[in-house]
């Protein structure tokens, strides 16, 4: 502002203008400070409110709860086992959005049976699609690098060809949750993002020896829904598997005992670790499925404390015969 400029405001009016400006700025400063006043106190975790991470997709209609197929061909065994339970249509309705939790833990070839077999994953995707599922999302938070796991196991390609989608977890896909009644899953990152809109959940995993837990089957498979530094849960492996059983109630699970990893689990690494056991279990009760699976490893459910505790808590039955499992033989291919 130059007083010699005739266009300029007179000094008095200019002073008044500035005075009003300053007063407005003082008021704005006060208002802003009041608005921001201690909105987020230091160390305040309320911004990342902990959610209830439980997922219940258990089927609402009754019917047989377990079938055991024997054979050599995974897709035929799956077909046979599902038909025995009333067909895939009993579980998957047109328009369903299905998530399939595979075991893609390691970036190793399918032949080593350390991961869900790609043929089985693909067969499951096709069945869901045929039953009218509008989308089928396949996911896992594996131990090795996720992209490598899905590609080297062959699961990625098989799923895409069968009409499914893959979800590879990133840090942002997890959300901190606390399992009600849980002691271990407290304020812990649990896979959350891909569950949006999901109406059905299927777990599919091979029967494996596991050094720490004794055996890794359908319940241990839910470990892949945990994020963070989850390996500390190995300090109480039975406790965490029981809490996973509390966390997830699937539509059904598929336990693949076509081959079982008898030793050197859960990675295996040699065909010598595997034994042909010619069995595939489909069950709405993961505890029962795992109890049967333990027999393929020459164990019983009593050798696996997590199964005993899960059964005691009423999360399923370890006495699988009480479910009157339907035994079918799949025709050889």
């Amino acid at each position: 502002m130059n007083a010699e400029n005739p266009e300029a405001l007179t000094p008095r009016r200019e002073f008044l203008r500035r005075g009003l400006q300053a007063a407005a700025a003082v008021a704005a400063t006060g208002g802003l400070a009041a608005w921001l006043w201690n909105r987020h106190p230091p160390g305040d975790f309320s911004r990342q409110a902990v959610f209830d991470p439980r997922r219940d997709f258990s089927p609402r209609v009754g019917g047989p709860r377990m079938s055991i197929a024997t054979g050599h061909d995974r897709s035929r065994m799956l077909d046979g086992a599902l038909k025995a339970l009333g067909g895939i249509g009993r579980f998957i309705a047109p328009g369903d959005r299905v998530m399939i939790k595979v075991n893609a833990a390691f970036a190793t070839p399918a032949a080593l049976a350390a991961t869900t077999h790609p043929e089985l994953a693909a067969a499951l995707v096709r069945l869901c699609r045929a039953a009218g599922a509008s989308s089928v999302l396949v996911t896992d938070n594996p131990i090795n690098d996720p992209a490598s796991c899905f590609e080297l196991t062959g699961i990625g390609q098989a799923v895409r060809q069968a009409g499914g989608d893959l979800f590879l977890p990133s840090t942002g896909a997890f959300r901190r949750g606390s399992l009600p009644g849980g002691k271990l899953i407290r304020n812990w990152p649990v896979l959350n993002e891909p569950f949006t809109g999901i109406t059905k959940l299927i777990g599919v995993t091979p029967v494996k020896n596991h050094q720490r837990a004794g055996a890794s089957m359908t319940l241990k498979n839910w470990y892949g829904l945990l994020g963070g530094r989850r390996n500390q849960f190995h300090q109480d492996i039975d406790g965490i598997i029981v809490e996973l059983a509390m966390l997830i109630r699937p539509t059904f699970v598929v336990l693949d005992g076509t081959q079982s990893m008898m030793t050197n689990g859960p990675t295996g690494g040699s065909l010598a670790d595997l034994k042909d056991t010619h069995t595939l279990i489909v069950s709405t009760d993961p505890v029962a499925a795992d109890a049967y699976g333990s027999t393929l490893l020459d164990k019983t459910f009593r050798d696996l404390p997590y199964l005993v505790r899960a059964a005691e808590l009423g999360l399923g039955t370890a006495d699988f015969e009480s479910l009157h499992p339907i035994r079918v033989e799949a025709a050889p291919s």
Partner: protein
């Protein structure tokens, strides 16, 4: 009394107060030690601390309320803080004043001419504030780096850790600070540069001055000139601290309100303190060049994302970085810490140290515990650091919360790390000699260090009874007393890293069994 005399008194009083509060920043029972003295006061006054933390945390920390008073003062009267209150400013002014006899008036007037490079401080401020707002963030929170150059944290850090220690004043004479050479060297450099250009830091570097210049550029009152009586003698530039050209065109944002021009203006007194605007014309802000603007915005935008590419706030977090008890989770910590080093100064055992570049440049001059340099580890019944922190980067804990006593039994004690025995160095484990100093000095009850009793055969026959130490991670709080006391004074046989620290959920080592 002349207004400049009043200003000199104010500067003297505030500088004296500042030095006094630095001396008093020591835990102890003496009257001259920290017994209710408001040792954080200058930091609480600092608007750049308040604005910076508000940008990073989207919250105004109530402890910083004094900064609002300075903002209001500046809105109405311009950069009074710079000319009358700032202790760093007073030091610059005093150092520059020492040179007045060496220079002829013409040289002094020339040295006080406005220089376009005075716009640099606005570029610096812009970069720092953009980094604090960090719209490109890869992570939940931004990084507060204003403390690197904010004069109030800078002078606290420098006087507390370097000047007082070198001069041996108070308890400071017996203390060690890693990297204090850099802190003191930069301080000395900035002070001595006044011998070349008066108030060089204030004019060209100071981001707080730039912020206050922005806030105060439209203050209704200020220095002005009455054209009718001004002879354009330029005597108003003789002692001008801000290089703001009182005779016009007046660079309003550069005026430090030193008022020297009122003294130096000859008889008719055309230069006065007036309701603005000045008749000599005004330039409210120095023009940052377009290139300068783009460069500083770009620097501010990419600095934090680039710094975090090293994973130091993610999977590659530095295990040796042990933060003081009560420190908030690392991302929020970096969003709050202004690098004033008050916690470093008040730590009674000298264990809290200013970090150098070893934990990434983002963490420069933030507090990290070092259990070798001090007189002990983190004391069990001490909560001084959190109460010295002006911004809540370290929460002001109660003793009960730190110790995990009622009503904090459920959350347990604050853990800042985890000790582990190096069985290749520990005397009983590695050499078959009895020791267990670590176990004896472990301050928690029951002790976090347990011993395994063995009778080990000796080379010449017979056995030696050994107690071999082991650490229980459920009890260890990471205080480092064991590491400090370990008789292996080079590389200790028991050492603490930040594993299992409470503040960072994802650093947990053991399952916490909730009661």
């Amino acid at each position: 009394m002349r207004i400049t005399t009043a200003r000199r008194i104010a500067q003297g009083v505030f500088f004296g107060l500042f030095v006094w509060l630095c001396i008093a920043s020591a835990v102890g029972t003496g009257w001259w030690q920290w017994r209710g003295w408001p040792i954080r006061w200058f930091l609480e006054l600092d608007p750049l601390v308040a604005v910076g933390t508000a940008l990073t945390t989207h919250s105004f920390y109530p402890q910083l309320g004094w900064a609002l008073a300075v903002i209001v003062l500046t809105l109405l009267f311009g950069r009074v803080f710079c000319g009358w209150i700032c202790p760093f400013g007073a030091l610059h002014q005093f150092t520059g004043w020492l040179t007045r006899k060496w220079r002829r008036p013409k040289q002094r007037i020339d040295a006080n001419q406005y220089h376009p490079a005075q716009a640099w401080k606005y570029a610096i401020l812009l970069s720092l504030l953009i980094a604090a707002a960090s719209p490109l963030r890869r992570t939940a929170m931004a990084s507060l780096q204003t403390g690197l150059l904010d004069p109030i944290p800078l002078i606290h850090r420098s006087v507390n850790l370097a000047v007082l220690s070198v001069l041996g004043i108070g308890s400071a004479g017996e203390r060690f600070y890693s990297g204090a050479g850099l802190i003191g060297g930069l301080f000395l450099t900035f002070v001595l540069l006044n011998l070349a250009v008066p108030r060089l830091y204030c004019r060209f570097v100071c981001p707080l001055g730039a912020l206050l210049g922005l806030i105060g550029r439209l203050a209704p009152w200020g220095i002005g000139v009455r054209k009718a009586t001004c002879t354009e003698c330029r005597l108003c530039d003789l002692n001008c601290e801000g290089a703001c050209q009182p005779q016009g065109p007046f660079h309003a944002s550069e005026c430090l309100m030193c008022m020297n021009c009122l003294d130096d203006c000859p008889s008719e007194h055309p230069v006065r303190y007036l309701p603005r605007p000045s008749q000599g014309g005004e330039i409210p802000l120095p023009g940052i060049s377009r290139r300068g603007f783009v460069a500083s915005v770009a620097a501010g935008l990419v600095a934090v994302p680039l710094a975090r590419l090293n994973g130091s706030t993610a999977r590659n977090w530095p295990a040796g970085l042990i933060r003081p008890p009560g420190a908030v989770a690392e991302e929020e910590f970096l969003a709050r810490c202004v690098k004033c080093c008050e916690c470093v100064r008040v730590c009674p055992t000298n264990a809290v140290q200013p970090a150098g570049f070893e934990f990434g440049w983002e963490a420069l001059w933030t507090p990290a515990l070092n259990y070798r340099i001090g007189t002990s580890g983190c004391q069990l019944d001490c909560i001084a650091c959190g109460h010295a922190c002006p911004t809540g980067a370290i929460r002001p804990l109660s003793l009960a919360e730190k110790r995990g006593q009622a009503p904090f039994e459920d959350s347990g004690p604050i853990r800042i790390g985890l000790a582990s025995v190096d069985r290749g160095r520990c005397l009983p484990w590695a050499t078959g000699r009895p020791c267990i100093v670590c176990q004896e000095t472990c301050p928690v009850s029951p002790k976090a260090i347990t011993v395994e009793e063995v009778d080990q055969p000796m080379e010449g026959g017979g056995t030696v009874h050994l107690q071999r130490p082991m650490v229980d991670p459920a009890r260890c709080i990471g205080c480092g007393v064991c590491e400090h006391e370990c008789p292996l004074s080079g590389v200790r046989g028991i050492r603490v890293v930040a594993d299992n620290e409470t503040r960072q959920l994802d650093h947990a080592v053991i399952l916490h069994h909730e009661k």
